[in-house]
């Protein structure tokens, strides 16, 4: 730790705390209002779970939530599986590796509005009816890089002599994968899957374009609700979604740390 004081420039601390407040203030305001008994939302009257009770009883929110979970669940499983296979393939260098990895990360670089529109046109051109299936298929695409990156990172850190040791101890490639590679990768696979799930659950733009009637997800429901004004119900459902995302991300972070500790 050299020259710690050199790093401490004036105002950086104040700016940082301000920025942290900037990042979290809206989230806290939203959460606070979701518990406000008063409908007008400008005045705080008393603490209440009323809005949560209302959204839980709202059938269109129930459908949207179910759709969200179905889409995120299936897209996550498919994307994680594809990402796991891809990570195993790109683990050792080969000709064209850069191109493949660049391709996998493409959904992160392309503006989502463009991919969304292009995917919509694909379904239109093929004459596929928009519905839950189109949403799931579209979600798989952008979930892959989120599942791929943690798995790939863990594979990189994996002590290669462990795989050689398994091979040496009469494990054929499948047994080696099943008994050594997969158990060691598992925390990273879970961590990647959780991230993919969060990203899919939170997605709005892609779903907005490729969802058909009856396949509305929660974010799309929230968007249309916002368009007609701020209501305590939106605050409550938004709060629920935020909390779910944060819990899942912290879980993924924890899984990643655990995996790191294990392969060391």
């Amino acid at each position: 730790m050299i020259a710690l004081h050199l790093k401490k420039l004036p105002l950086t601390r104040e700016t940082s705390l301000l920025i942290l407040a900037y990042l979290y203030l809206p989230i806290f305001v939203l959460i606070a209002y979701s518990f406000n008994a008063n409908r007008s939302a400008t005045v705080w009257t008393e603490f209440s779970f009323a809005w949560y009770a209302r959204i839980l009883a709202n059938p269109s929110i129930q459908t949207a939530a179910l759709n969200s979970i179905i889409v995120a669940g299936i897209a996550t499983v498919c994307a994680t599986l594809i990402a796991l296979l891809a990570a195993l393939a790109t683990y050792r260098p080969f000709y064209g590796q850069k191109m493949v990895e660049g391709g996998i990360n493409l959904p992160l670089i392309l503006p989502e509005i463009v991919t969304a529109v292009a995917t919509l046109l694909l379904f239109m051109a093929l004459g596929i009816k928009l519905g839950l299936l189109t949403v799931i298929v579209a979600h798989i695409g952008f979930c892959i890089p989120f599942a791929y990156l943690p798995i790939r990172a863990r594979l990189n850190d994996l002590d290669k002599s462990l795989l050689e040791a398994a091979n040496d101890l009469y494990a054929n490639p499948w047994q080696c994968f099943r008994r050594v590679t997969l158990p060691l990768l598992w925390p990273a696979v879970l961590s990647g899957a959780v991230l993919a799930f969060v990203v899919s659950l939170d997605d709005f733009i892609m779903t907005f374009f490729v969802a058909g009637p009856g396949s509305t997800t929660l974010p799309v429901y929230i968007f249309s609700a916002i368009k007609s004004g701020v209501t305590p119900e939106i605050n409550a459902i938004s709060t629920l979604m935020l909390v779910i995302s944060i819990v899942l991300v912290v879980l993924s972070f924890w899984l990643g740390q655990r995996g790191k500790a294990q392969t060391r």
Binding site: V114, L121, P173, C176, V198, V249
Partner: protein
């Protein structure tokens, strides 16, 4: 290098085929179709005329319109939206740098545990729903919100300032959405920075600001540039923030694209707008690639010397 019973190239092909097929089906082919549609005329019912010959009309329409006498005149509608988007994205990038750099700098001075906590705190908003986070700003900035109320109470002569549905609100939302993308890359370069160089600068008589400007900032440039790219790219294609916090007047290119596939039902124009957006991003990426190749070379030269 373990030896498997199959040839390694064969098993790699098998493992890669799902991802390659998915990417082809969900990115390459859709973009190809979009390119094709951008070259077709729209038909009367809002779709496209698949049988028509290729034409460049939808690209011409981005900048020109047919006047009354059939002559082409400059059309500023889309160019303005484009310029506004570039300006918004550029401004967002600059603001993210101004606010993000001190945070990254401050983080490097923390104890390791606090640092990883900060990284987590900076990362969490990224993983939460963008739509909801922008909606939260809608609550804060709206007319009945306490900020607008208090400003107008303090400045009654201003005649009712609105904070929402304007460029200001869009800027707040964009900076808020993409600030983590600036902080994290800068932090990771600053973390690896050799602080003895800064000590050397002090030793040679630089004060703190000079050391910052002449040593720390130039050395953290790779992180700054990477962060700028990561902020600029999604800001330029932003759709949610202007849709929620911007009014009808503050359209960005992303909203224009959406309109063509929604109410306007002009697919060819929407497609050509998408390619225009992709073109600008491509330019930014190429500039970035050139920059990183140059810095890689300088670093190599520095290491060789």
């Amino acid at each position: 290098m373990s030896v498997s019973t199959q040839s390694p190239a064969m098993s790699r092909l098998l493992l890669l085929s799902p991802v390659v097929l998915t990417l082809l089906a969900l990115i390459a082919i859709p973009l190809g179709i979009m390119g094709y549609i951008s070259l077709l005329p729209r038909n009367l019912y809002g779709g496209v005329d698949w049988q028509a010959d290729w034409q460049l009309q939808s690209y011409v329409k981005l900048f020109f319109q047919e006047g009354f006498d059939g002559e082409l005149e400059l059309n500023w509608v889309y160019a303005q939206a484009l310029l506004r988007s570039v300006a918004q994205a550029g401004g967002t990038t600059l603001l993210c740098f101004v606010f993000g750099f001190p945070v990254a700098l401050w983080m490097t001075g923390l104890a390791p545990r606090q640092r990883s906590l900060m990284v987590l705190l900076i990362t969490i908003p990224f993983w939460t729903n963008l739509l909801i986070r922008n909606y939260a700003w809608l609550i804060i900035l709206r007319e009945q919100g306490w900020i607008a109320q208090s400003i107008n109470a303090l400045l009654p002569q201003a005649g009712g300032i609105t904070l929402l549905y304007n460029d200001f609100a869009v800027s707040v939302g964009l900076v808020y959405s993409f600030l983590p993308f600036m902080i994290l890359p800068i932090y990771s370069t600053l973390e690896k920075l050799d602080w003895r160089l800064v000590e050397a600068a002090y030793d040679l008589g630089a004060n703190r600001w000079k050391a910052l400007r002449r040593v720390i900032l130039p050395l953290s440039m790779p992180g700054v540039i990477a962060g700028a790219l990561l902020v600029f790219v999604p800001s330029l294609g932003a759709f949610i923030t202007p849709a929620i916090l911007g009014g009808g007047k503050t359209l960005m290119i992303g909203n224009l694209i959406q309109q063509q596939f929604g109410t306007a039902r002009n697919w060819p124009l929407g497609s050509s707008l998408s390619f225009l957006l992709l073109g600008i991003l491509m330019l930014a990426l190429v500039l970035y690639a050139l920059y990183s190749r140059k810095t890689a070379k300088t670093i190599r030269r520095g290491a060789a010397a």
